[in-house]
Symmetry: C2
């Protein structure tokens, strides 16, 4: 039986989950899976901190370097987060001949090129199922289950905090601030939720999905990123009237101009399968050239769901341990080809526009004149009941138009004296999934 020694970095939420699963289910893994895991060392920042799990103090160290360099360690499991120290430790682990399992999406999104190339040189594995979609086996599905396919598109709800907030705003009409407060009370949002709300967390995950789904290197900065902060309950209500829900989507589509890659609040038809993914759940909808649509849905965060993914990586390594050879290089390291990412300004989409207009005769004429002069044609339009002289919301849904044109038009609109405040702009996705 393959015995494998684990060096664990970090004993927080996920680390505790990993420790408890591997210790509580030791027999099951040994008897039914044929894998025997044991912890060699566990590095923590603060010895005396209260833990969720009882760990023999002999295993605990505050010297993480001693863990990644311990000759008896086969696999280093990095769960400390952040990018600076984590990068040093992960690269040192690989140089010391260890395989690496990590849940660190920021690290892989920012330093993926360096890490995967080092792993390829060292013929070691870097596994990271837990870095995207928590307990959902989306990485394994991309790399193994769908190996016969080339992806043509990928639409993902991969930030639980944003999805929880948007769901609350949709089902209860809560405004953004209250929904965020609720999410923090429920533990779905961190005390500093910036990376969740500005879309960066989703962009990190999308960078990883693109690297392996579309097989090539991708620069994080090339991914256009917009968060949900500017979405109002008003927008959600208006979208609803037109038959749409608003979701924060991570999108990657193969186009003649390269990969169209973005994270953005998006209007989805109510009957779209992703429009019905609610609360803190995550979902990834992929379209493969042979398999068609595939959707994976589950818990995108939480101690045990994420630990479940980390453990599946550890078991995958243990099962193949000492039998890796070029497989590790070819299929586990990413392709060396650099993917061309299409600039946001050239994408084509339908748009939802919300303006506040002073209601005077001839106002609509002015506005449609501006749109027309930018070759933007309107598919739907709604104005609320008229209160003379005061600003009323005007909702416009456009036909397909490119981003550059819409931005020029919106600048022009915002300069009109009859338009008060800035125009709200949200993209619409109609397709992908039935």
């Amino acid at each position: 039986m393959k015995k494998i020694r684990i060096g664990l970095l970090g004993l927080g939420e996920i680390g505790s989950g990993v420790y408890s699963i591997l210790t509580q289910k030791k027999d099951y893994f040994a008897k039914e899976i044929g894998v025997d895991c044991e912890f060699a060392k566990i590095a923590v920042r603060n010895r005396s901190k209260k833990r969720k799990v009882q760990v023999p103090s002999s295993l605990i160290t505050t010297d993480s370097r001693s863990v990644v360099e311990d000759p008896s360690v086969d696999v280093v499991v990095e769960l400390i987060g952040g990018t600076k120290e984590a990068y040093q430790l992960v690269t040192q682990a690989l140089k010391s001949g260890k395989h690496v399992v990590t849940a660190n999406k920021a690290l892989l999104a920012e330093k993926g090129d360096e890490i995967f190339e080092l792993a390829a040189r060292m013929k070691k594995w870097v596994f990271f199922e837990a870095s995207v979609g928590g307990g959902i086996p989306v990485v394994k599905t991309l790399r193994e289950g769908l190996v016969a396919n080339e992806l043509t598109s990928l639409f993902a709800i991969i930030n639980g905090t944003s999805n929880y907030i948007l769901t609350k705003m949709t089902t209860e009409g809560t405004d953004f601030k209250d929904a965020l407060k609720k999410a923090q009370e429920k533990g779905y949002a961190e005390s500093d939720p910036t990376l969740d709300l500005n879309g960066m967390d989703a962009a990190h995950k999308l960078a990883i999905l693109i690297r392996f789904g579309f097989r090539g290197k991708v620069k994080l900065d090339d991914i256009y990123c917009e968060g949900i902060q500017r979405i109002s309950s008003e927008d959600i209500a208006f979208a609803n009237e037109f038959g749409y829900r608003i979701k924060l989507l991570a999108i990657a589509k193969k186009t003649p101009g390269g990969i169209d890659a973005r994270v953005q609040p998006t209007l989805l038809p109510k009957d779209h399968i992703l429009a019905n993914v609610n609360g803190s759940f995550n979902a990834v909808l992929m379209h493969g050239d042979r398999v068609g649509d595939i959707l994976l849905y589950g818990r995108g965060a939480g101690s045990y769901p994420t630990a479940s993914a980390v453990v599946s990586d550890i078991v995958d390594i243990a099962k193949r341990y000492k039998r890796l050879e070029e497989e590790s290089v070819i299929t586990m390291a990413a392709s060396r080809r650099r993917l061309k990412i299409q600039g946001i300004s050239s994408i084509l989409a339908r748009y939802y526009l919300r303006l506040h207009v002073i209601d005077r005769p001839g106002v609509l004429a002015k506005i449609f004149q501006v749109l027309g002069s930018h070759k933007i044609s309107v598919s739907d339009c709604m104005q609320q009941e008229r209160r003379n002289g005061s600003a009323v919301p005007l909702i416009i849904l456009t036909h397909g138009v490119n981003e550059r044109a819409i931005r020029k038009a919106v600048n022009a609109l915002d300069r009109l004296p009859v338009v008060s405040g800035k125009t709200q702009v949200i993209r619409i996705e109609e397709n992908g999934g039935e």
Copy 2:
């Protein structure tokens, strides 16, 4: 690079798909996956038959035995269907030291014990992703992605024909016969759809999911099986009034009395995620003790989706080829433990009852008396407007009650002179998924 020689049995819908993927994408598999597949021999029943793909006639043979015994063949891919000849060929292939990939659910459901034990003895792999859920990587997810979990329940829509028919009946009010005709025109139903409509096809797939999801042997006959033939558009309309959709579900739940395993038409709340899986799509909702709910959704049938799964199995074998050892025995062969399946008569459920009652004074009293005398309590009840003397439908939803009691009660009801025809009985599932 690992070169692997394939012996293909059958060149129908799926076989042609597999041939075209592996030949059209040969470069991609060689360069990006590091796997080089070639066809050694392809066995067909009828040489002269018109094929979807152009195959060099030198590869074609009508002697399938020569394929499974060809010393140059590494993997035998069985796509002929049926259980008799397929069993002989698959076992002969294993005895000749080949790995086996099959899409044959009937074969694995009926002969799984023998086949997996032989594979374990021969230290060879039997892969079968395509046997359940077409292109959806559900087997890989169960065995690898969710390896850290014990399943507590599994709810699956795994018969596309039934789901297409029920969807048509629900969305268009079509009756069963017309919906079936439409399914056959669309190619979603075979000319002889018996195994789809009576639930056996779903039961075959459920037997495979249970074997690997709950890790043990299971007898096909132990799985209670009911099809959709007796579902009327009337039932779908009434269910709708109570807020339910009717779906053909394959269900497996861990209970103190063993695994509760059944295939049955089921009332699901409209907001249940499986209630929104429509048309010919399949979906499997699993609950793991660590990961919680996981849903996989995609095309359950079709030449390319199914071929996509077959190819992923071939690649999995190719990547590990000559490096199998006990992994093949322990994690690829099923557990030798025999699972205890709970008898249907002892399951507890809520029930939908539809009776046609002659509308006379005191009729309801009689009916509720019968239910009461069997300790069955009613949660909802609906009777359509009264036409004196004629039979009118009476719909009753019960609270949780066990199957034995409901059957006794229904027998008693059907003997009442005021009840015309047989009482319709459909189980209700409230939980599983949010």
